[in-house]
Amino acid sequence: MLIKKAPDIRESEVTPRSWYVRRREFLQVAGSTAVAAAVGATGPLFSGTSTAFAQNPAAEKLENLKKSPLSVADEKINAYKDITTYNNFYEFGLDKGDPARYAKTLKPRPWNVVVDGQVGKPGTYAIDDIMKWFPLEERIYRMRCVEAWSMVIPWVGFPLADFVKRFEPTSKAKFVKFTTLLDMKQMPGQSEPALPWPYVEGLRMDEATHPLAILAVGLYGEVLPNQNGAPIRLIVPWKYGFKGAKSIVRVTFEENEPMNTWKRMQASEYGFYANVNPAVDHPRWSQASERRIGEFFKRKTLPFNGYADQVASLYTGMDLKKFY
Protein backbone atom coordinates (compact mmCIF):
# COMPACT_ATOMS: atom_id res chain seq x y z
CA MET A 1 0.00 0.00 0.00
CA LEU A 2 1.59 3.24 -1.09
CA ILE A 3 1.19 5.99 1.45
CA LYS A 4 2.52 9.22 0.13
CA LYS A 5 3.97 11.37 2.90
CA ALA A 6 3.67 15.14 2.73
CA PRO A 7 7.10 16.85 2.49
CA ASP A 8 8.85 17.69 5.79
CA ILE A 9 8.53 21.21 7.14
CA ARG A 10 11.54 23.50 6.67
CA GLU A 11 13.43 24.90 9.66
CA SER A 12 12.66 28.42 8.43
CA GLU A 13 8.94 27.70 8.63
CA VAL A 14 9.01 26.82 12.33
CA THR A 15 7.23 29.40 14.47
CA PRO A 16 9.59 31.37 16.76
CA ARG A 17 9.24 30.17 20.35
CA SER A 18 8.37 33.61 21.70
CA TRP A 19 5.41 33.77 19.30
CA TYR A 20 4.41 30.21 20.06
CA VAL A 21 4.26 30.81 23.78
CA ARG A 22 1.96 33.80 23.27
CA ARG A 23 0.02 32.24 20.42
CA ARG A 24 -3.45 32.59 21.95
CA GLU A 25 -2.95 36.30 22.52
CA PHE A 26 -1.64 36.66 19.02
CA LEU A 27 -4.61 34.78 17.62
CA GLN A 28 -7.09 36.94 19.50
CA VAL A 29 -5.49 40.17 18.33
CA ALA A 30 -4.88 38.97 14.81
CA GLY A 31 -8.26 37.33 14.61
CA SER A 32 -10.25 40.31 15.78
CA THR A 33 -8.30 42.69 13.56
CA ALA A 34 -8.79 40.47 10.57
CA VAL A 35 -12.47 40.15 11.30
CA ALA A 36 -12.96 43.87 11.73
CA ALA A 37 -11.26 44.45 8.40
CA ALA A 38 -13.18 41.69 6.67
CA VAL A 39 -16.57 42.74 7.97
CA GLY A 40 -15.90 46.33 7.10
CA ALA A 41 -14.58 45.61 3.67
CA THR A 42 -16.68 42.82 2.34
CA GLY A 43 -19.59 42.16 4.59
CA PRO A 44 -20.88 38.91 5.97
CA LEU A 45 -21.93 37.71 2.55
CA PHE A 46 -18.34 36.89 1.77
CA SER A 47 -17.01 35.66 5.07
CA GLY A 48 -20.02 33.52 5.75
CA THR A 49 -20.59 34.71 9.29
CA SER A 50 -20.77 38.12 10.85
CA THR A 51 -18.55 37.45 13.82
CA ALA A 52 -15.36 35.44 14.07
CA PHE A 53 -16.26 32.89 16.64
CA ALA A 54 -12.92 31.79 17.93
CA GLN A 55 -12.78 29.19 20.57
CA ASN A 56 -15.47 28.69 23.13
CA PRO A 57 -13.86 29.95 26.36
CA ALA A 58 -15.74 27.40 28.41
CA ALA A 59 -14.55 24.38 26.45
CA GLU A 60 -11.85 22.16 27.82
CA LYS A 61 -8.58 22.67 26.02
CA LEU A 62 -6.56 19.75 24.74
CA GLU A 63 -2.87 20.29 25.22
CA ASN A 64 0.37 19.05 23.69
CA LEU A 65 -1.14 18.05 20.40
CA LYS A 66 1.14 16.40 17.88
CA LYS A 67 1.07 17.84 14.43
CA SER A 68 0.59 15.32 11.65
CA PRO A 69 2.08 15.14 8.16
CA LEU A 70 -1.31 13.80 7.09
CA SER A 71 -2.94 17.19 7.74
CA VAL A 72 -3.71 19.40 4.75
CA ALA A 73 -1.26 22.26 4.74
CA ASP A 74 -2.31 24.48 1.90
CA GLU A 75 -6.02 25.10 2.45
CA LYS A 76 -7.88 27.64 4.52
CA ILE A 77 -9.36 26.14 7.67
CA ASN A 78 -13.04 26.93 8.13
CA ALA A 79 -14.15 29.19 10.94
CA TYR A 80 -15.06 27.58 14.26
CA LYS A 81 -18.52 29.11 14.04
CA ASP A 82 -19.17 27.56 10.65
CA ILE A 83 -17.95 24.15 11.77
CA THR A 84 -20.05 24.22 14.93
CA THR A 85 -23.30 25.74 13.61
CA TYR A 86 -23.76 23.92 10.28
CA ASN A 87 -24.22 20.28 11.11
CA ASN A 88 -26.16 17.28 9.91
CA PHE A 89 -26.94 15.52 13.16
CA TYR A 90 -30.58 14.49 12.81
CA GLU A 91 -30.63 13.24 16.41
CA PHE A 92 -31.11 16.92 17.25
CA GLY A 93 -33.31 18.02 14.36
CA LEU A 94 -33.23 18.14 10.60
CA ASP A 95 -32.21 21.74 10.12
CA LYS A 96 -28.48 22.38 9.95
CA GLY A 97 -28.77 24.94 12.70
CA ASP A 98 -30.63 22.54 15.00
CA PRO A 99 -27.66 20.63 16.48
CA ALA A 100 -26.03 23.85 17.70
CA ARG A 101 -29.37 24.94 19.15
CA TYR A 102 -30.47 21.69 20.75
CA ALA A 103 -27.42 19.55 21.44
CA LYS A 104 -27.07 20.90 24.95
CA THR A 105 -29.16 17.97 26.19
CA LEU A 106 -26.35 15.59 25.23
CA LYS A 107 -24.26 14.51 28.24
CA PRO A 108 -20.77 13.53 27.07
CA ARG A 109 -19.76 12.60 30.64
CA PRO A 110 -19.93 10.02 31.98
CA TRP A 111 -19.54 8.13 28.69
CA ASN A 112 -18.56 4.57 27.99
CA VAL A 113 -17.58 2.86 24.78
CA VAL A 114 -18.24 -0.85 24.48
CA VAL A 115 -15.84 -2.81 22.27
CA ASP A 116 -17.10 -6.25 21.30
CA GLY A 117 -17.50 -8.78 18.54
CA GLN A 118 -14.66 -10.66 16.90
CA VAL A 119 -11.89 -9.44 19.22
CA GLY A 120 -9.53 -11.08 21.66
CA LYS A 121 -9.98 -8.34 24.26
CA PRO A 122 -13.54 -7.01 24.41
CA GLY A 123 -14.52 -4.58 27.15
CA THR A 124 -16.23 -1.39 28.23
CA TYR A 125 -14.12 1.72 28.62
CA ALA A 126 -14.65 5.22 29.94
CA ILE A 127 -13.98 7.98 27.44
CA ASP A 128 -11.57 9.74 29.79
CA ASP A 129 -9.42 6.60 29.85
CA ILE A 130 -9.61 6.12 26.10
CA MET A 131 -8.35 9.67 25.62
CA LYS A 132 -5.22 8.78 27.60
CA TRP A 133 -4.30 5.68 25.62
CA PHE A 134 -2.77 7.45 22.63
CA PRO A 135 -1.02 10.78 22.08
CA LEU A 136 -3.58 13.19 20.65
CA GLU A 137 -2.83 14.62 17.24
CA GLU A 138 -4.13 17.56 15.31
CA ARG A 139 -5.51 16.35 11.97
CA ILE A 140 -6.58 19.06 9.59
CA TYR A 141 -8.80 17.30 7.08
CA ARG A 142 -11.16 18.14 4.27
CA MET A 143 -14.70 16.99 4.91
CA ARG A 144 -17.04 16.55 1.95
CA CYS A 145 -20.73 16.12 2.58
CA VAL A 146 -22.80 14.03 0.19
CA GLU A 147 -24.97 17.14 -0.25
CA ALA A 148 -22.05 18.73 -2.19
CA TRP A 149 -20.63 21.18 0.31
CA SER A 150 -17.33 20.88 2.12
CA MET A 151 -15.14 22.29 4.85
CA VAL A 152 -11.58 22.02 6.13
CA ILE A 153 -11.67 21.08 9.80
CA PRO A 154 -8.88 20.87 12.41
CA TRP A 155 -9.83 17.73 14.28
CA VAL A 156 -8.05 16.40 17.35
CA GLY A 157 -7.87 12.64 17.66
CA PHE A 158 -5.85 9.48 17.31
CA PRO A 159 -5.49 6.84 14.62
CA LEU A 160 -8.35 4.36 14.49
CA ALA A 161 -5.69 1.80 13.53
CA ASP A 162 -4.08 2.09 16.97
CA PHE A 163 -7.45 1.71 18.67
CA VAL A 164 -8.28 -1.38 16.58
CA LYS A 165 -4.92 -3.03 17.23
CA ARG A 166 -5.34 -2.72 20.96
CA PHE A 167 -8.34 -5.07 20.97
CA GLU A 168 -6.70 -7.82 18.94
CA PRO A 169 -9.31 -8.45 16.25
CA THR A 170 -9.50 -12.12 15.26
CA SER A 171 -9.20 -13.44 11.73
CA LYS A 172 -12.99 -13.35 11.52
CA ALA A 173 -13.04 -9.58 11.97
CA LYS A 174 -13.52 -8.27 8.45
CA PHE A 175 -15.47 -5.13 9.27
CA VAL A 176 -15.79 -2.63 12.08
CA LYS A 177 -19.21 -1.32 13.02
CA PHE A 178 -19.81 1.93 14.93
CA THR A 179 -23.01 2.60 16.82
CA THR A 180 -24.18 6.00 18.03
CA LEU A 181 -25.96 6.62 21.33
CA LEU A 182 -29.66 5.77 21.44
CA ASP A 183 -31.31 7.97 24.07
CA MET A 184 -34.39 10.04 23.29
CA LYS A 185 -33.92 12.22 26.35
CA GLN A 186 -30.42 13.26 25.37
CA MET A 187 -31.18 13.22 21.63
CA PRO A 188 -34.76 14.51 21.19
CA GLY A 189 -34.61 14.10 17.41
CA GLN A 190 -34.63 10.34 17.96
CA SER A 191 -38.31 10.51 18.84
CA GLU A 192 -38.86 11.35 15.15
CA PRO A 193 -38.42 8.44 12.74
CA ALA A 194 -36.30 10.55 10.40
CA LEU A 195 -33.73 7.77 10.28
CA PRO A 196 -33.85 4.31 11.85
CA TRP A 197 -32.15 4.81 15.24
CA PRO A 198 -29.49 4.30 16.51
CA TYR A 199 -27.20 5.59 13.78
CA VAL A 200 -24.87 2.88 12.55
CA GLU A 201 -21.82 3.10 10.33
CA GLY A 202 -19.09 0.72 9.29
CA LEU A 203 -15.75 0.30 7.59
CA ARG A 204 -13.92 -2.55 5.95
CA MET A 205 -10.97 -3.64 8.08
CA ASP A 206 -8.35 -2.22 5.72
CA GLU A 207 -10.20 1.12 5.67
CA ALA A 208 -10.39 1.12 9.47
CA THR A 209 -6.67 0.53 9.83
CA HIS A 210 -5.68 3.08 7.21
CA PRO A 211 -3.53 5.88 8.70
CA LEU A 212 -5.98 8.57 7.61
CA ALA A 213 -8.91 7.18 9.61
CA ILE A 214 -9.17 8.64 13.10
CA LEU A 215 -11.38 8.72 16.12
CA ALA A 216 -11.81 12.40 16.86
CA VAL A 217 -12.23 13.72 20.39
CA GLY A 218 -11.64 17.38 19.74
CA LEU A 219 -11.81 20.29 17.38
CA TYR A 220 -9.70 23.47 17.17
CA GLY A 221 -7.61 22.37 20.14
CA GLU A 222 -10.60 21.81 22.42
CA VAL A 223 -12.93 18.93 23.24
CA LEU A 224 -15.61 18.26 20.65
CA PRO A 225 -18.69 20.44 20.95
CA ASN A 226 -21.84 18.37 21.38
CA GLN A 227 -23.14 19.24 17.94
CA ASN A 228 -20.00 17.82 16.30
CA GLY A 229 -20.45 14.39 17.86
CA ALA A 230 -19.11 14.62 21.40
CA PRO A 231 -17.33 12.97 23.02
CA ILE A 232 -15.90 10.70 20.33
CA ARG A 233 -16.66 10.29 16.65
CA LEU A 234 -15.29 8.72 13.50
CA ILE A 235 -13.56 10.69 10.76
CA VAL A 236 -12.81 9.09 7.39
CA PRO A 237 -11.80 12.02 5.19
CA TRP A 238 -11.90 10.25 1.82
CA LYS A 239 -15.52 9.32 2.24
CA TYR A 240 -18.71 11.36 2.40
CA GLY A 241 -19.31 12.94 5.78
CA PHE A 242 -22.20 10.67 6.70
CA LYS A 243 -19.67 7.85 7.21
CA GLY A 244 -18.32 9.77 10.21
CA ALA A 245 -20.57 8.37 12.93
CA LYS A 246 -20.91 10.68 15.91
CA SER A 247 -21.23 10.18 19.67
CA ILE A 248 -20.06 6.58 19.47
CA VAL A 249 -21.05 4.18 22.25
CA ARG A 250 -20.12 0.88 20.66
CA VAL A 251 -17.47 -0.50 18.35
CA THR A 252 -18.19 -4.02 17.10
CA PHE A 253 -15.88 -6.16 14.99
CA GLU A 254 -17.90 -8.20 12.54
CA GLU A 255 -17.53 -10.87 9.89
CA ASN A 256 -20.10 -9.37 7.57
CA GLU A 257 -20.58 -5.92 6.12
CA PRO A 258 -22.66 -3.87 8.57
CA MET A 259 -25.86 -2.27 7.27
CA ASN A 260 -25.07 1.44 7.64
CA THR A 261 -28.00 3.71 8.37
CA TRP A 262 -28.10 5.77 5.18
CA LYS A 263 -27.87 2.68 3.02
CA ARG A 264 -30.65 1.14 5.05
CA MET A 265 -32.67 4.32 4.61
CA GLN A 266 -32.18 4.71 0.87
CA ALA A 267 -29.96 2.08 -0.73
CA SER A 268 -30.53 3.50 -4.23
CA GLU A 269 -28.80 6.71 -3.18
CA TYR A 270 -26.39 5.86 -0.34
CA GLY A 271 -24.08 2.90 -0.21
CA PHE A 272 -21.66 1.33 2.21
CA TYR A 273 -18.42 2.58 0.68
CA ALA A 274 -19.48 6.21 0.06
CA ASN A 275 -16.09 7.17 -1.36
CA VAL A 276 -16.01 10.75 -2.57
CA ASN A 277 -16.12 10.37 -6.33
CA PRO A 278 -16.91 13.08 -8.89
CA ALA A 279 -17.46 10.38 -11.50
CA VAL A 280 -20.30 8.72 -9.61
CA ASP A 281 -23.29 10.98 -9.22
CA HIS A 282 -25.95 10.80 -6.59
CA PRO A 283 -29.07 9.65 -8.44
CA ARG A 284 -30.65 13.07 -8.04
CA TRP A 285 -27.69 15.45 -8.14
CA SER A 286 -24.20 15.70 -9.52
CA GLN A 287 -21.13 15.00 -7.35
CA ALA A 288 -18.74 16.64 -9.77
CA SER A 289 -18.50 19.88 -7.83
CA GLU A 290 -18.93 21.19 -4.32
CA ARG A 291 -19.39 24.44 -2.45
CA ARG A 292 -16.50 25.00 -0.05
CA ILE A 293 -18.09 26.85 2.84
CA GLY A 294 -16.77 30.40 2.75
CA GLU A 295 -16.45 30.45 -1.04
CA PHE A 296 -18.87 31.75 -3.60
CA PHE A 297 -18.32 29.65 -6.64
CA LYS A 298 -18.28 25.89 -6.62
CA ARG A 299 -15.06 23.98 -6.92
CA LYS A 300 -14.35 20.69 -8.64
CA THR A 301 -14.69 17.67 -6.39
CA LEU A 302 -11.55 15.55 -6.23
CA PRO A 303 -11.54 11.75 -6.37
CA PHE A 304 -11.45 10.43 -2.82
CA ASN A 305 -11.74 14.02 -1.64
CA GLY A 306 -8.16 14.69 -2.68
CA TYR A 307 -6.77 11.69 -0.79
CA ALA A 308 -6.54 9.47 -3.87
CA ASP A 309 -2.77 9.02 -3.59
CA GLN A 310 -3.20 7.55 -0.16
CA VAL A 311 -6.35 5.46 -0.53
CA ALA A 312 -7.08 4.62 -4.16
CA SER A 313 -5.12 1.38 -3.84
CA LEU A 314 -7.65 0.07 -1.33
CA TYR A 315 -10.16 -0.13 -4.17
CA THR A 316 -8.17 -1.37 -7.17
CA GLY A 317 -10.28 -3.66 -9.26
CA MET A 318 -13.48 -2.55 -7.57
CA ASP A 319 -16.26 -1.11 -9.69
CA LEU A 320 -16.86 2.15 -7.84
CA LYS A 321 -20.05 2.82 -9.80
CA LYS A 322 -21.48 -0.36 -8.38
CA PHE A 323 -19.97 -0.08 -4.90
CA TYR A 324 -20.88 3.51 -4.17
Binding site: G43, L45, G48, T49, S50, Y86, M265, R291, I293, K298
Partner: protein
Amino acid sequence: MTQTQFIRRIVKPIVFAAALGPFGWLVYNAFWGDLGVNPVETITNYSGITTLRLIAITLALTPARWISGFNPIILFRRMIGLFAFFYGTLHFMTYFILDQSLQFGGVWDDVVKRPYITAGFTGFVLMIPLAITSTQGWIRRLGGRRWNLLHRLIYITALAAVLHYFWKVKLDTTYPVYYGILMGVLLTARLVQRGRKMAAVPPRRAVPIRREA
Protein backbone atom coordinates in the same frame (compact mmCIF):
# COMPACT_ATOMS: atom_id res chain seq x y z
CA MET B 1 -61.94 58.49 -4.25
CA THR B 2 -63.65 55.43 -5.64
CA GLN B 3 -62.96 52.02 -4.25
CA THR B 4 -60.85 51.07 -7.27
CA GLN B 5 -58.88 54.29 -7.02
CA PHE B 6 -58.25 53.60 -3.34
CA ILE B 7 -57.01 50.14 -4.15
CA ARG B 8 -54.81 51.31 -6.99
CA ARG B 9 -53.28 54.29 -5.24
CA ILE B 10 -53.04 53.15 -1.63
CA VAL B 11 -53.38 49.39 -1.26
CA LYS B 12 -51.35 48.32 -4.28
CA PRO B 13 -48.20 50.23 -3.29
CA ILE B 14 -48.44 48.66 0.15
CA VAL B 15 -48.73 45.18 -1.31
CA PHE B 16 -45.87 46.00 -3.69
CA ALA B 17 -43.67 46.93 -0.75
CA ALA B 18 -44.69 43.78 1.10
CA ALA B 19 -43.81 41.63 -1.91
CA LEU B 20 -40.39 43.23 -1.93
CA GLY B 21 -39.96 42.20 1.70
CA PRO B 22 -38.15 38.92 1.09
CA PHE B 23 -35.79 40.61 -1.35
CA GLY B 24 -35.17 43.34 1.20
CA TRP B 25 -34.41 40.71 3.82
CA LEU B 26 -31.84 39.13 1.55
CA VAL B 27 -30.17 42.43 0.71
CA TYR B 28 -30.15 43.56 4.32
CA ASN B 29 -28.62 40.34 5.57
CA ALA B 30 -26.11 40.19 2.74
CA PHE B 31 -24.56 43.48 3.78
CA TRP B 32 -25.44 44.16 7.41
CA GLY B 33 -26.63 40.92 8.86
CA ASP B 34 -26.00 37.23 8.47
CA LEU B 35 -26.88 34.93 5.62
CA GLY B 36 -25.68 31.93 7.59
CA VAL B 37 -22.86 29.49 7.11
CA ASN B 38 -23.79 28.77 3.51
CA PRO B 39 -25.04 32.08 2.08
CA VAL B 40 -25.53 30.76 -1.45
CA GLU B 41 -27.77 28.03 -0.08
CA THR B 42 -29.71 30.57 1.98
CA ILE B 43 -30.28 32.84 -1.02
CA THR B 44 -31.20 29.93 -3.29
CA ASN B 45 -33.62 28.35 -0.84
CA TYR B 46 -35.26 31.59 0.26
CA SER B 47 -35.76 32.92 -3.26
CA GLY B 48 -37.08 29.52 -4.29
CA ILE B 49 -39.62 29.18 -1.50
CA THR B 50 -40.75 32.78 -2.08
CA THR B 51 -41.33 32.00 -5.74
CA LEU B 52 -43.40 28.99 -4.77
CA ARG B 53 -45.43 30.99 -2.26
CA LEU B 54 -46.12 33.80 -4.71
CA ILE B 55 -47.22 31.33 -7.38
CA ALA B 56 -49.64 29.90 -4.83
CA ILE B 57 -50.95 33.36 -3.91
CA THR B 58 -51.37 34.25 -7.57
CA LEU B 59 -53.36 31.08 -8.12
CA ALA B 60 -55.45 31.76 -5.03
CA LEU B 61 -56.60 35.21 -6.11
CA THR B 62 -59.20 34.13 -8.62
CA PRO B 63 -60.83 31.54 -6.34
CA ALA B 64 -60.77 34.18 -3.58
CA ARG B 65 -62.59 36.49 -5.93
CA TRP B 66 -65.26 33.90 -6.67
CA ILE B 67 -65.78 33.03 -3.04
CA SER B 68 -65.83 36.56 -1.70
CA GLY B 69 -67.54 38.14 -4.67
CA PHE B 70 -65.03 40.98 -4.21
CA ASN B 71 -63.97 41.53 -7.79
CA PRO B 72 -61.17 44.07 -7.26
CA ILE B 73 -59.02 41.25 -5.90
CA ILE B 74 -58.09 40.64 -9.50
CA LEU B 75 -56.24 43.94 -9.56
CA PHE B 76 -53.40 42.27 -7.67
CA ARG B 77 -52.95 39.25 -9.84
CA ARG B 78 -50.54 40.71 -12.35
CA MET B 79 -48.37 42.32 -9.71
CA ILE B 80 -48.07 39.17 -7.59
CA GLY B 81 -47.50 37.07 -10.71
CA LEU B 82 -44.69 39.32 -11.83
CA PHE B 83 -43.15 39.18 -8.38
CA ALA B 84 -43.25 35.39 -8.59
CA PHE B 85 -41.33 35.72 -11.83
CA PHE B 86 -38.91 38.15 -10.19
CA TYR B 87 -38.06 35.74 -7.40
CA GLY B 88 -37.91 32.84 -9.86
CA THR B 89 -35.39 34.80 -11.86
CA LEU B 90 -33.37 35.57 -8.74
CA HIS B 91 -33.44 31.87 -7.86
CA PHE B 92 -32.37 30.82 -11.33
CA MET B 93 -29.65 33.48 -11.59
CA THR B 94 -28.16 32.41 -8.26
CA TYR B 95 -27.95 28.88 -9.62
CA PHE B 96 -26.67 30.01 -13.02
CA ILE B 97 -23.99 32.33 -11.68
CA LEU B 98 -22.85 30.69 -8.45
CA ASP B 99 -23.50 26.99 -9.10
CA GLN B 100 -22.80 26.89 -12.80
CA SER B 101 -20.34 29.80 -13.08
CA LEU B 102 -22.36 31.22 -15.96
CA GLN B 103 -21.80 28.09 -18.06
CA PHE B 104 -24.90 27.34 -20.04
CA GLY B 105 -23.48 23.94 -20.92
CA GLY B 106 -23.51 23.03 -17.25
CA VAL B 107 -27.10 24.18 -16.92
CA TRP B 108 -28.17 22.14 -19.93
CA ASP B 109 -26.37 19.09 -18.56
CA ASP B 110 -28.34 19.41 -15.34
CA VAL B 111 -31.63 20.01 -17.18
CA VAL B 112 -31.12 16.83 -19.12
CA LYS B 113 -29.77 14.63 -16.32
CA ARG B 114 -31.37 15.79 -13.07
CA PRO B 115 -35.16 15.52 -12.92
CA TYR B 116 -35.44 18.15 -10.22
CA ILE B 117 -33.65 20.64 -12.47
CA THR B 118 -35.70 19.56 -15.49
CA ALA B 119 -38.79 20.42 -13.48
CA GLY B 120 -37.38 23.68 -12.09
CA PHE B 121 -36.09 24.90 -15.41
CA THR B 122 -39.35 24.05 -17.15
CA GLY B 123 -41.34 25.90 -14.51
CA PHE B 124 -39.11 28.93 -14.82
CA VAL B 125 -39.00 29.04 -18.61
CA LEU B 126 -42.79 28.80 -18.84
CA MET B 127 -43.07 31.92 -16.69
CA ILE B 128 -41.15 33.97 -19.26
CA PRO B 129 -43.92 34.30 -21.87
CA LEU B 130 -46.34 35.01 -19.03
CA ALA B 131 -44.19 37.86 -17.76
CA ILE B 132 -43.75 39.28 -21.26
CA THR B 133 -47.46 39.16 -22.06
CA SER B 134 -48.57 40.52 -18.71
CA THR B 135 -49.32 43.98 -20.12
CA GLN B 136 -52.62 45.41 -21.28
CA GLY B 137 -51.14 45.81 -24.75
CA TRP B 138 -50.56 42.10 -25.01
CA ILE B 139 -54.02 41.24 -23.72
CA ARG B 140 -55.39 43.36 -26.57
CA ARG B 141 -52.99 41.91 -29.12
CA LEU B 142 -53.76 38.31 -28.23
CA GLY B 143 -57.38 38.82 -27.38
CA GLY B 144 -58.84 37.75 -24.08
CA ARG B 145 -59.44 34.13 -25.00
CA ARG B 146 -55.96 33.41 -26.33
CA TRP B 147 -54.36 35.35 -23.52
CA ASN B 148 -56.22 33.30 -20.95
CA LEU B 149 -55.20 30.08 -22.66
CA LEU B 150 -51.54 31.12 -22.68
CA HIS B 151 -51.64 32.06 -19.04
CA ARG B 152 -52.86 28.64 -18.08
CA LEU B 153 -49.18 27.70 -18.39
CA ILE B 154 -48.95 28.80 -14.77
CA TYR B 155 -50.65 25.52 -13.82
CA ILE B 156 -47.72 23.61 -15.31
CA THR B 157 -45.28 25.94 -13.57
CA ALA B 158 -47.02 25.37 -10.26
CA LEU B 159 -46.74 21.59 -10.58
CA ALA B 160 -43.18 21.80 -11.91
CA ALA B 161 -42.19 23.94 -8.93
CA VAL B 162 -43.59 21.43 -6.45
CA LEU B 163 -41.80 18.53 -8.19
CA HIS B 164 -38.59 20.57 -8.24
CA TYR B 165 -38.83 21.05 -4.49
CA PHE B 166 -39.88 17.45 -3.78
CA TRP B 167 -37.07 15.93 -5.81
CA LYS B 168 -34.47 18.27 -4.42
CA VAL B 169 -34.83 17.69 -0.66
CA LYS B 170 -32.54 15.06 0.79
CA LEU B 171 -34.86 13.40 3.24
CA ASP B 172 -37.61 15.54 4.68
CA THR B 173 -40.46 15.79 2.17
CA THR B 174 -42.93 17.34 4.64
CA TYR B 175 -42.95 20.83 3.13
CA PRO B 176 -42.86 19.79 -0.53
CA VAL B 177 -45.87 17.61 0.20
CA TYR B 178 -47.71 20.47 1.92
CA TYR B 179 -47.13 22.71 -1.09
CA GLY B 180 -48.18 19.89 -3.38
CA ILE B 181 -51.46 19.60 -1.52
CA LEU B 182 -51.90 23.38 -1.58
CA MET B 183 -51.33 23.57 -5.33
CA GLY B 184 -53.62 20.59 -5.80
CA VAL B 185 -56.40 22.36 -3.93
CA LEU B 186 -55.90 25.60 -5.89
CA LEU B 187 -55.94 23.82 -9.23
CA THR B 188 -58.92 21.68 -8.27
CA ALA B 189 -60.82 24.83 -7.34
CA ARG B 190 -60.37 26.03 -10.90
CA LEU B 191 -61.52 22.76 -12.39
CA VAL B 192 -64.61 22.85 -10.22
CA GLN B 193 -65.35 26.44 -11.21
CA ARG B 194 -64.83 25.65 -14.87
CA GLY B 195 -67.22 22.74 -14.55
CA ARG B 196 -69.83 25.02 -13.04
CA LYS B 197 -69.35 27.64 -15.75
CA MET B 198 -69.83 25.07 -18.51
CA ALA B 199 -73.08 23.97 -16.94
CA ALA B 200 -74.44 27.47 -16.36
CA VAL B 201 -75.61 30.07 -18.85
CA PRO B 202 -72.65 32.33 -19.77
CA PRO B 203 -72.90 35.25 -17.31
CA ARG B 204 -72.80 38.85 -18.41
CA ARG B 205 -69.61 40.67 -17.57
CA ALA B 206 -69.45 41.36 -13.88
CA VAL B 207 -66.47 43.70 -14.12
CA PRO B 208 -66.24 45.99 -17.15
CA ILE B 209 -62.99 45.76 -19.05
CA ARG B 210 -60.95 48.69 -17.90
CA ARG B 211 -57.28 49.49 -18.24
CA GLU B 212 -55.35 48.00 -15.34
CA ALA B 213 -52.80 50.37 -13.90
